[in-house]
């Protein structure tokens, strides 16, 4: 009896926590957005600036996610399969983006690449603009979403062990063939999960991008920045609508990866 009561109360607390933290706010946003019907929402999200912000966010994700996926897999291989001293240091460095506040990242990028920064003169001389334009935003987004793929892949690589890879080597496979045909298929779910997290993080990034972008309306304004801009200008309808788009994008990412995972899984493993 006591244990049943304990189990029930544990469940209640867990669900209550989730509801208070996640369920209620998300539901509220959806409710506020659609309380006057679809028409105002549609007109809010079809504003030119909103559409521009949407595509800019998509563009950033499209650049950053492949970059960080390749880097993340390479990093995971180095950490898990490398044979050199100080590998633990590499792991520590990799976690830095988790530890540093995004605002600090943004400021640091301005200090290095800004007009008065270290490379400022050189960049100006070659008329390359990093800060207040796309390259800076890519750097900022890439930095904050850096660890996910590697962090998800390392434990899978560890679990996999080296037997299959060594078997491939004795069968005459080159390092690339071994990676492509043995390692990658075995770690793909770790990588996929890392990609989902990277996408979600890149999509939602606010702090660092807020600083390096300069928040130029219709130019360097991403979807999260657009939401904040609408909110600050008392256009709550516009802010809610854009927020819902952002949330739906995140849902779509999770759902898409989930479906993909399920289908491929059914095909290969019974």
């Amino acid at each position: 009896m006591a244990s049943t009561a304990r189990r029930l109360s544990l469940r209640f607390v867990a669900l209550g926590y989730l509801l208070a933290l996640l369920g209620a706010p998300v539901a509220m946003i959806f409710y506020r957005t659609f309380e006057h019907g679809l028409a105002p929402v549609w007109s809010a999200v079809t504003q030119p600036n909103a559409i521009h912000a949407f595509w800019l966010s998509v563009e950033l994700v499209a650049i950053v996610v492949p970059l960080n996926t390749v880097f993340g897999i390479g990093m995971a291989l180095l950490i898990e399969r490398g044979r050199f001293r100080g590998r633990w240091l590499l792991g520590l460095l990799l976690d830095l983006p988790f530890a540093i506040s995004p605002v600090v990242v943004g400021l640091a990028l301005v200090l290095v690449y800004g007009r008065t920064g270290w490379f400022g003169n050189w960049l100006t001389a070659h008329s390359i603009q990093v800060i207040f334009s796309i390259p800076g935003m890519v750097l900022a987004t890439a930095f904050v979403s850096l660890p996910f793929v590697a962090r998800e892949t390392v434990p899978v690589l560890h679990e996999l062990g080296t037997d299959a890879e060594q078997a491939a080597a004795t069968l005459g496979a080159s390092a690339w063939q071994t990676f492509r045909r043995v390692t990658l298929p075995a770690i793909r779910w770790g990588v996929v999960y890392g990609v989902v997290l990277t996408t979600a993080r890149a999509l939602g990034e606010f702090g660092a991008v807020s600083i390096v972008s300069g928040r130029l309306e219709g130019q360097t304004q991403t979807l999260p920045l657009y939401v904040q801009d609408r909110f600050e200008n008392f256009d709550t309808a516009g802010a809610y609508a854009a927020a819902v788009v952002l949330a739906l994008l995140a849902f779509a990412t999770l759902l898409g990866m989930n479906l993909l995972a399920r289908r491929t899984h059914r095909d290969t493993v019974v």
């Binding site: 037997d163 299959a164 060594q166 004795t170 069968l171 005459g172 298929p185 493993v269 019974v270």
Partner: protein, 317 residues
């Protein structure tokens, strides 16, 4: 000479895995590396395969020094202890791997894979995944995969270690026959002396990173060079410094000048073999191995006092 290992040493940190080991394997031989765990036998196998590099010494295969060659260029087939299957590939694709990485034509690959699956009696299971195979089937798949690129030598690490007793016996027999059929130079690692003697023509007994003795199962059994080999290859009784084999102890109904008195402490029936535990007049315990028939004739029973004739014991300096 198919494989020559010269003065190989290997350390892992402060642990000495191999200490100046030399081994020669004849063309077409079936050889066992036998020893307790930590004796260095697996390390030696991995060094031959190129999966580890020796600190000193060299390895040549078919007269070619391959000490520095990477595993993939050595032409060595390796069967891992836990088979190391490619879990996301079918049995067919697993076996085909060594051929497809060499970009062999598809028709040729399919033909060779079908032939190998017949050889290891897995035909009909080509479309299965490793997760759908039993331990014995995985073992045979791993063997077919290793044989596919026609290796110069075949190396097996504890090939029967992870299987249950019944399957182990069948696979031993089958491996020996397979070797007769395809005659590829084969080395396998085992810690089981019976397995080594059953399957191999030549045995290298290893202990503490060194080779204790090399020879045929018969030679090792009859003329062990030292105490370790004698006690590792077959059962022994220890009487002080002396070692004697339990089956060399004769039990007689009546004493004579060459016998000693022995009290039967326990009689254990193990099928054909009967194990008789005895206490000698000086209080020392030994055991003797007799046949079922002898035990019946003598009507062996606990508490009985019999005559035992001990063989000349071996004493190793």
């Amino acid at each position: 000479m198919a494989i020559e290992v010269h003065n190989v040493s290997k350390h892992f940190g402060t642990f000495t895995a191999l200490d100046d080991v030399s081994v020669r394997v004849d063309d077409g031989a079936l050889m066992a590396l036998l020893g307790p765990s930590g004796s260095g036998k697996s390390t030696l196998l991995r060094i031959i395969a190129g999966l580890e590099t020796p600190d000193t010494g060299n390895v040549s295969i078919e007269g070619q020094d391959l000490t520095q060659a990477p595993a993939r260029t050595r032409g060595v087939g390796f069967v891992f202890q836990h088979y190391a299957p490619f879990k996301h590939m079918t049995v067919h694709d697993n076996v085909a791997f060594g051929l497809t990485v060499r970009r062999a034509p598809k028709a040729e690959v399919n033909e060779r894979v079908a032939e190998l699956l017949r050889l290891v009696r897995l035909d009909g299971l080509a479309k299965r995944y490793p997760s759908q195979l039993s331990g014995g089937q995985l073992q045979r798949m791993a063997l077919a995969r290793a044989l596919a690129p026609q290796p110069k030598v075949l190396l097996l690490d504890e090939p029967f270690g992870a299987l249950d007793v019944q399957v182990r016996g069948e696979l031993r027999e089958w491996l020996r026959r397979l070797h007769e059929e395809i005659h590829v130079t084969t080395i396998f690692v085992t810690h089981d002396q019976e397995e080594a003697m059953d399957v191999a023509g030549q045995i290298v007994v290893m202990n503490g990173g060194r080779v204790e003795q090399t020879g045929t199962p018969h030679e090792l059994y009859e003329n062990p060079r030292n105490e370790f080999v004698m006690s590792f290859i077959g059962p022994v009784n220890r009487l002080g410094d002396a070692l004697l084999r339990p089956h060399d102890i004769q039990i007689l109904p009546y004493p004579d000048t060459s016998t000693v008195e022995a009290l039967v402490r326990r009689v254990v029936h193990l099928g054909f073999e009967v194990r008789v535990e005895l206490t000698l007049p000086d209080g020392r315990d030994i055991w003797a191995q007799v046949t079922r028939e002898t035990a019946a004739e003598l009507e062996l029973a606990e508490g009985q006092i019999l005559a035992a004739r001990l063989p000349a014991p071996r004493v190793f300096a």
